[in-house]
Structure formats: structure tokens, C-alpha cells
Symmetry: C2
Subunit: 420 residues, 2 copies
């Protein structure tokens, strides 16, 4: 991608409305723009990051046998009346009547819709276990949307649902999801805390939250420094580790994942039953597994930045390499830059060529702001000496190498662990 | 993918509610299920088809320099009041107030939102031309949703927007999009008619519609059999070719694409201006380019089926190959099937292995219904003689070949034009 033909509106100054580090960097690096409070447009770079995150989630979901589908945003309100959650979630549900008088809501979550679907298609134990998931837009009427993509009225979630004939099956699926979640957050470059948590309006007894420590997080987690137990903080709670009695640390966190053993709450309310091997009718045993996909863009930035800008983990970065010709009016420099650009593209890596007619200082600043892992800098001296300068965004390390060896160097630096 | 671990609920009978061929096949092949009138869930196979269509569209959009982004579904109503289209589109817009009293609508289209975005980021001729697109869910309060995915209240569109400083720039982008559209529909296996059409509520003067002839289409197109001119039929219209005076054919069609030269309708109403090279402020000149993505799933089926089921064009098919072991209790048959499955997967092709404990007749019928281009059939005799039978879904041709040569045969049959 050539910068001049793309749409990457970076900002020199911190926007006034931005409340958290990630919110500032989302706006300054041209990843998103606000349409109205709590509602954002993803610009090309923001969308690329979002898609990289989705791809990691897809790979890990598919690896544990989950099937991807896509449920609608529009839902009949009567579906929610069956479980009584029209009342529990009433305040955050956007609702309206259509021209034909139907009461419709915009799905803030999809337990009812998926249970309704599975009920109509599954009747026998031979069709179980079944694990389904989607990556889809949710809508919530937040009274106070804030922090950019962290608390929005329109946001993207991955929600998975498991369907089993017994508790042993649920345990197995729950453990598989637990493992997949750990892989996902590791690949996203996130340090997380895992807490046993309240199930709240979701029902069920066992649940775990996946929390990203961050100074602007809205949740508070108690974490034991010596035995690494973590739990959601409630006001009345003592601050002593239940296991080793050490004083626990109180950390602000962003909730990025939540998994629940739902049991039969939804299947019983909606009569989603199956015949077991003996022909007996039983309610299907369910689990649900959520990840805040768009919120993760913010969470990754919160934990991966410095004073100059974003430092994307390799698998999340919108491009692998940014190429900086320092004078676009100099044909030798531009030819050299385009040469390397083509070579990188041909290896299947993604590259951004900053072909804007801007001063070197602006290009350096924007490259650091964007946070692409590798910068390849091509100036007049480099062309004269037939070398290029490669800068690692995270460590700021600079490597000078002959132009002929640049591709091999870039390949080794972008393959696997070097950048993480 | 193993069928037993997937979610492909095929139906033996035609569902009563289905009105058109594609609607019947969408339901019978387990591609979609209705949540309420005009609102569908995409099951795993339907989602795969949808994603294949999206991938083709993305490739062709990117090839003409368009940048992908993603705009929100929630939009402030005041944005629509600026162009007066809150009145033009009022009836089909879903609207409501949120908890804070904001008037919000669900975007039936995105001209206002994109113009608002570009207005805030573009101020100089040096930032033009710019072409942006998204693949996104739209919402319309259809009074009479019908024909499965053809007329829905929630549906997926690709909408692209071009921004230019002069008419010559618009012409160039319009022609590039016109070419990209022809490529897209060709790759989708569609025969199309291209008509010069009314611009309707979109504004602007020049527009072309891309129409798929189909007996259940809701639009009527006059097509000249001798000089291949086509035009949208209006009631008062004569049926004589304006060019060669031949009698024109009257064809039912599904509209799958529509491109418009908008001119300055939106930029003037919303003050989206730029400074030209001489420093003069001018309204940006726009074009918009839509494709009905989810509707295309139906349109492709309408033109690609026979009495047995769907016949997917190669690039759209949810899998390249379906493997049918005719007796899953026979270890030799299953080993042979899994062998070929792994070999196919290793070449990067996608395969579905029908490992259900069902009779051969049911497997044959479902394979034809699903419409996957190649069927690899492994029965007892085949194992005994060390051969496999390969059936081409479209032509029904059958090829017997030694098992050792099966992979090479499959590779040559799935590479390029053989199946189209």
C-alpha cells in the first residue's frame, strides 16, 4: 500500500476529547473516527487491526472444533420474553416497532437467538456436542459510552456457545475454550489476569473473566503477588489472598473475555431439549464464551505503547513493514524504496510505503505513531553507500545493512519471535 | 471439515414458506434459517459462501485502488436531515431514541456518513482522488420482505464511494468500478444484463444497474436480442430497441449492483469542500457504487442449479471437494476416505468429509443438494479394486481412477476452468 493512495489521517496533537492512552492513539494514528458518542468508524488501518484480531480468534476457535455462523442483529422481542431477559437487559436494549407493528430489538447478546436456532435443528444426543460461534456486531444503549472502543453503543464481539448432553461434556468444552482464550490473548501480546467471577444476568454458576490490567480500566481486580490468584473486587471484600493470606494488589482492568457454564437456564426456558440414548427428553446443557473484539484493539494499545505511539505485537500490526523514502523527489531513493517494497510484498508480507512529500522528521514521527514493527529507512547517504537502515519499533534498535541483504534481514526479523 | 462435527442441517422436503428456487435451496441445503420475516441467520455453509463472495469483491475493489473501511450501523438522524433524505427514505428507515434522547437511525445506506467523514479529513486537492468502500450490514424496514435473501430487512452490502476534484476524475473512477463489477459478476458465475437506469433517491444523473435474469426477479428489464442493449422497463415504455428497432425481450431480473455518478448532491448539502490548486473552495465530486452481497447468494443459486440442487461456481463453493465414504463402519473405506481428505487439505483446498452413518442414497442426494463441485465416492468395490470414483457435480460426469492418482486428478479438476 502506498500512503498517498490510502486513507491514514494521522494527527499531530492529542485530541481534546480523548480520555485514555488508547483513545488518544486510536485517533492520532488514524485508526478510528467518532460518528457520535459511543459509535465509531474504523478507518483502513483500524479495520486491518480488527481483522488481524478476528483472524487469530477464528483460528483458535476452529482449532477447538467450533463452527462459525452469523446471527442477525434484529431480533423479535418475544424471544427475550421467553427467558425474562427483556426485563433484565431492558435498559441497555435498543428497541422499536417496525412498520408492520412487530416489536424488535437490536441484539445486545445472542443466547436467546442461538438457543432458538439449535432447538429447531437438534433433537437427538447423536447431534451433540455442538459448538457454534460468530463474530458479530452488538448494540447496547450505554448511558455513558467512553474511552474510545472500550465502552461503545455499537461494538464487535465473538460469542461462542456449546451444547452438550451432560456436565462432563460441558466441562470438556469449557476447558477447551479456556485454553483457546489463553492462546488468543498470548498471540495478541496481552498480559492478562483470569478471575473467577459473578455470572450476573447470564445465569449459571461457574464463570471466568479475562482481564487486561490497564490504568484506565473500569473493572477492579484483586491479584495476589505471591500465588497469582485473581478475583473481581467487590466493595465489601477483604484484601487478603484466600489461598496464601498475602495482601492482594488492586488493579484497574479492562474485561476482554468472559466464559460461563450456563447449564440449562436457556434450554429450559425455551424448551431446547434432546432425546438421550435411552429416548428420554432432557434439556441441552449450555456454555457461552464471549470476547470483546473491538474493545481488544484498545486493550492491545493500552499495553503496547510508549511516548512516541503504538507498538503493535507482530500478529496484530496493520502492516509488517513501513518503508520510508526520505526524499520522494529523488529518483534513486524512490526506486530503491519501491524495489524493497516489491520484494517484501512478493514474500507475502504486508508493507506500507510512505510516498508522501513530507519532511523526514514528519515521516519518522508518523512511523513511530503508527507502530508498525519494522521501519526501513532510505535516505540519500543510504543510496550513495548502497545500504538501508532497518529500525525495530519496539526496541528502537537500528541495523544498517547492504541493500542486497535487506530482504533476508527483513524476513528473519518478521518471522516469529524476533519482534515480540 | 467432518460433517458429523459441523452444523449442516439439510432438509429432504421443500419448505412450505419458500417462494423461489433459491429460497428453497438456501433452506434445504442448510445455508440459512429464518429468525423472523426478512431476517436470516447464516449457518456455517451459508457463511462460507458469503465470505467467498466477499473475498472476490474485496480483491476487485482493492485492484482498482479502493480502500476498505467500516462505518457504523447506528447513525444520528440529524446527519440525514442535512440532505433531506430523512424524508425520502423515512419509511424504510428504522429509527428510535436512545436513553439520552438522541434520535438514532439504522443506516439503510451510507452516503451521509461517508461524506461527513471525508469532509472532516479532506481539505485539499492533494488528498484527491480517494475511493473508499465497506462490506457492511444495512437495515431497511421492508413492508414485504420475501424470496429468502433477495428482499430482507437486514442484509449485507458492499458500498464504495469515490471522491474527485473534477468530472474527468469521476469518469475515470466510474469506469474503473464498471470494469471491476463486470469482473466480479463473471467470477461469481453470473450472466448479467447492464442497464442505464434511474438514479432515484440517490441523486445524480448517470447510473447503471447490474441485473441477474431470473424467473423470480422483482425488476423487469427490456433486453434487445440483436444488439444486446438493455434498459429498465417502465410502464409507459415501448418495447422497441432504441438502437436497432428490434422487439425487445421482457425479462424478470434481480438487481445485484447499482453505480451512480452522484456529482455534488451530498458534498453541497453537507459542505464537503476542497481547495483546488488555485486555492479556490469547491464541492467534492462524488460517485457511489453498491453491490447486494447477501442477495448475491440467492442470485448465484437462481442461475446455478438443477432439479437435484445447487451447482456452485468454483470460486463461490463452500468446499472444493466432498468425500463420500459409503459405509462408515468399514475401516478400509474410512481409512481410504481420510487419506484422500488429508491429501486434499494439504494442497490448500477445502474438503468436507461426509462421515455420517447414513445410507449411500442419502449421501448422494445431500451431496447433489449441497452443490460442491467435486464428489469423491469411496465404496466397497472401490476399496477392493483400489480405485475411487470422482463425480463432477455440474456435468454429472464420472471418472474412475486408481487411488494413487486421485489427488492429481482432483488437483487438475479444481484448478481453474475445468469446473466453470
Amino acid at each position: 500500500m502506498f500512503w498517498s493512495k490510502s486513507f491514514i489521517p494521522t494527527l499531530k496533537e492529542n485530541p481534546q476529547e480523548a480520555e485514555s492512552i488508547s483513545h488518544k492513539l486510536l485517533l492520532r494514528a488514524g485508526l478510528v473516527r467518532m460518528l457520535m458518542a459511543g459509535v465509531y468508524s474504523y478507518l483502513p488501518l483500524g479495520l486491518k487491526v480488527l481483522e488481524n484480531i478476528q483472524e487469530i480468534i477464528r483460528e483458535e476457535m476452529n482449532a477447538c472444533g467450533a463452527n462459525e455462523l452469523l446471527l442477525p442483529a434484529l431480533q423479535p422481542l418475544e424471544l427475550w420474553q421467553k427467558t425474562g431477559r427483556d426485563k433484565d437487559l431492558g435498559q441497555v436494549m435498543f428497541g422499536f416497532k417496525d412498520r408492520r407493528g412487530r416489536s424488535i430489538c437490536l441484539g445486545p447478546t445472542h443466547e436467546e437467538a442461538i438457543t432458538d436456532l439449535v432447538k429447531s435443528q437438534v433433537s437427538s444426543y447423536r447431534q451433540l456436542p455442538l459448538v457454534l460461534y460468530q463474530i458479530q456486531t452488538k448494540f447496547r444503549d450505554e448511558i455513558r459510552p467512553r474511552f474510545g472502543l472500550i465502552r461503545c453503543c455499537e461494538f464487535i464481539m465473538k460469542d461462542a456457545y456449546s451444547f452438550d448432553q451432560d456436565e462432563a461434556g460441558l466441562d470438556k468444552n469449557y476447558q477447551a475454550m479456556f485454553g483457546a482464550y489463553k492462546n488468543i490473548f498470548l498471540r495478541l501480546g496481552l498480559k492478562i489476569l483470569i478471575t473467577e467471577a459473578d455470572s450476573g444476568v447470564m445465569g449459571g454458576k461457574v464463570s471466568h473473566e479475562f482481564m487486561v490490567p490497564s490504568q484506565d480500566g473500569e473493572d477492579i481486580v484483586l491479584s495476589c503477588p505471591s500465588c497469582s490468584i485473581a478475583r473481581t473486587f467487590k466493595e465489601e471484600e477483604s484484601q487478603e489472598c484466600p489461598k496464601c493470606k498475602a495482601k492482594m494488589d488492586k488493579l484497574n482492568c479492562i474485561e476482554v473475555g468472559h466464559i460461563f457454564k450456563l447449564g440449562t437456564k436457556y434450554s429450559q426456558a425455551m424448551q431446547a431439549n434432546f432425546s438421550d440414548a435411552g429416548g428420554k427428553l432432557k434439556p441441552i446443557i449450555m456454555g457461552c464464551y464471549g470476547i470483546g473484539v473491538s474493545r481488544l484493539v484498545s486493550a492491545v494499545i493500552e499495553q503496547n505503547n510508549d511516548s512516541e505511539g503504538i507498538i503493535w505485537p507482530a500478529e496484530v500490526a496493520p502492516f509488517d513493514v513501513i518503508i520510508l523514502p526520505l526524499d520522494v523527489t529523488d529518483a534513486a531513493i524512490m526506486n530503491s524504496a519501491k524495489d524493497i517494497y516489491r520484494q517484501v510484498i512478493d514474500t507475502g508480507k504486508e508493507a506500507l510505503l510512505d510516498d508522501r512529500d513530507e519532511r523526514a522528521g514528519i515521516k519518522f514521527k508518523d512511523a513511530d505513531l503508527l507502530g508498525i514493527p519494522l521501519q526501513v529507512i532510505i535516505g540519500r547517504n543510504a543510496v550513495k553507500d548502497n545500504v538501508v537502515e532497518i529500525k525495530l519499533r519496539a526496541s528502537k534498535e537500528k541495523i544498517i545493512c547492504p541493500k542486497e541483504q535487506a530482504l533476508e534481514k527483513i524476513k528473519s526479523l518478521t518471522s516469529g519471535s524476533a519482534l515480540r
